[in-house]
Symmetry: C2
Subunit: 403 residues, 2 copies
């Protein structure tokens, strides 16, 4: 029998217990051994909870119990979670986590620590919730040079952008809706400013490069600047707007990665990833394009991903699970030097100055926005676009990259 | 060093050699050991081919070479391929295949034979080409009870249906186009009659049930009966038509599986799977809905899937890879007893007889087809619909299931 401990009895933690106990026949069959949750670590008590007798408050109980070979860290944060993870790995207990902040910050170090102690650090649930993107990169795309990953990796902002498109609504309006439904937090910054998606693309980029990509160094732009007018122009151009987390592996092994709103053609499969769903579009040099789609968050989908990691640990006791993410820092490409097309929305009364700057662009006009013009530029460097927009000052209302 | 043999130097076989040799850095790194193709078995010679010196004609050379631990069977068919596979497995050599016909027919037996001989029978490339659906079921969805799989698993027919929709063209017209482009074979029956998709859903159903699902017992209907008029009515109902391979795991462990054209709502993600692409929509009891999308065929995507299997074999020498597919036959549900909505296209001059049979249905009328009526029925049993249509004889022009 394999016994596990769950650290943190919040939404994901209670989901992990539920998946392992409710689907115990499936879980134990695939693990090759009966599997049960022995401890749940939390500061609180849970009187009346069906698993209340498993709740403990002292982590040392878990660390010192030789029957515990796998620990699920679903507490979040980088304080206690980091210490607890290190201690478990040093004690030879594998750790499975949904904690993207910790994985983005200390992934390489914890993978190495696990390997040194003959156990595993697994983090399928840290990116894309129930979408098996980590396993797909590490186990399925093994013969591939993965050239690019483009993901809709944050359900909250995707829900908001979908509503903005469907209801021609403005940002503030849909934020309130999302908060009322519990999709957005009262302090929504981590989602709407793109930090959550940034951590996830840093994790995926690190796996693409095999080296560490520091999430704090990635260009990150959120969705606060997106207005109903942007969606109106996008529609005119047969596009929609999505918050994309993108990473490209360059010929020399360096990584170009960023998070920003992008205009996406309506006939691209990523345009079909709506509401709280996530999607990850991966391009391999042999495989071509592939996409994975599913629930990017939520109690049971995330818990299922953690449980899949637990099963993989159970099946691989005493041997290595393939995961190449070294502590060396990957070389990052300066986003300002990258090239693409842009959508720019400008005041119509800019007259010749605006027209001069966007000379080679396609110009869009909309009856509903008579005082504005939309431009779709030719391919240009980010810094060229930036310079052009700066010269026009407040004539520029918004600019959005094209996918 | 791990040395492999490739059986069959056709499209997929040459792709396998290309993936392993061109992406050798990635392949060897992930395999944990240098990996090379030592032999290519084919009846023909390939003068001038870069790998011509690897070509051999005698399979015994491969069987008797102790250096060969992995064999890629990409010959196709169930004659020699079956014998060669058995011989390799009996010699303790793992076999990786793209041969869906053989996997559908003898999968359970060959998996058991591999296990008995301490090696592996791997078949990622047999379903969905480059889409890692087998690995997702076997490795990622391990804590799940997989309740349903709905796949667009045949690129040829998906290409044809996409063209029929986009160009309002008839079946015969697009078949000629597809043949001219090399997407359809001169004898297209295996694709257009649904047999190819049927083998694939039999494989996926077997993995869902953990028992053997006999492809020959599955209800299979192809796309020959689909006309331009059907797409016109589908459009009116905001739907499209896809050839779906579906399997549902019932409460009692029995399987309801079939291949048939279905009307799919335009806002469902499967409706976005166009041209030669494949998509597999999977529902787990914890995970909810997930979809995998990608190239369902083609030299390099299929070869990449074979190579991923080769790497997994290399990393798992002497130990088991999880794959539950027993030789016991799964219980199948009679499709006639299953319930759903249907689209029925009938002659308008059927008058009251037609209207009586489709009393509770939504009726569609199209100016372009003034002599026809479309009906979308309420949920009913297949056999009830069948009986209603039989009573109306040749007043019924076509009937298509709704997803």
């Amino acid at each position: 029998m394999i016994q596990i401990a769950v650290l943190g009895y919040g939404i994901v933690g209670s989901g992990v217990v539920e998946v392992i106990e409710r689907n115990n026949a499936e879980v134990s069959r695939r693990a090759g051994e009966e599997m049960h949750v022995k401890y749940i670590l939390d500061l609180r008590d849970f009187p009346g909870d069906p698993y209340e007798e498993k709740v403990v408050h002292d982590y040392n109980l878990i660390l010192e119990d030789a029957q515990i070979s796998i620990v699920c860290e679903v507490m979040g944060g980088v304080g206690d979670a980091y210490q607890f993870t290190r201690q478990a790995l040093e004690a030879g207990k594998s750790v499975c986590t949904s904690n993207k902040e910790l994985v983005a910050k200390h992934g390489a170090e914890l993978i190495a620590l696990a390997a040194a102690n003959g156990c595993h650090y697994m983090f399928e649930a840290s990116v894309g919730g129930g979408i098996p993107i980590i396993r797909t990169i590490n186990n399925a795309m093994t013969p591939e040079r993965i050239e690019a990953v483009t993901g809709i990796l944050n359900g909250t902002t995707n829900y908001m952008l979908t509503k903005m498109e469907q209801e021609s609504a403005d940002y503030e309006e849909v934020l309130k809706q999302a908060q009322a439904l519990g999709y957005a937090e009262r302090n929504p910054e981590a989602d709407v400013e793109g930090h959550d998606a940034c951590r996830k693309i840093a994790i995926l980029s690190s796996l693409m490069a095999g080296k560490n990509v520091d999430s704090e160094k990635l260009y990150t732009e959120g969705i606060k600047g997106i207005a109903a007018a942007d969606f109106a122009f996008a529609k005119e151009a047969n596009m929609t707007i999505k918050l994309l987390a993108r990473a490209k592996l360059m010929e020399d092994g360096s990584i170009l990665a960023m998070v920003a709103p992008f205009m996406v053609p309506k006939d691209h499969v990523l345009a079909m990833v709506n509401d709280v769903f996530n999607g990850v579009f991966v391009t391999g040099n042999m495989l071509g394009d592939t996409m994975l789609y599913g629930h990017g968050a939520g109690k049971l989908p995330t818990a299922s991903a953690v449980a899949a990691d637990v099963i993989e640990c159970a099946r691989n006791q005493g041997r290595q699970i393939l995961c190449i993410w070294e502590e060396t820092e990957a070389k990052l490409v300066d986003v300002a030097e990258s090239e693409r097309k842009f959508f720019v929305r400008a005041k119509r009364d800019g007259g010749k100055a605006v027209e001069d700057v966007f000379a080679g662009s396609i110009c869009l006009e909309l009856a509903e926005y008579p005082n504005e013009l939309g431009f779709i530029t030719p391919v240009m460097k980010e810094r060229e676009l930036q310079a052009g927009c700066e010269a026009l000052g407040d004539l520029i209302l918004n600019k959005i990259r094209l996918m």
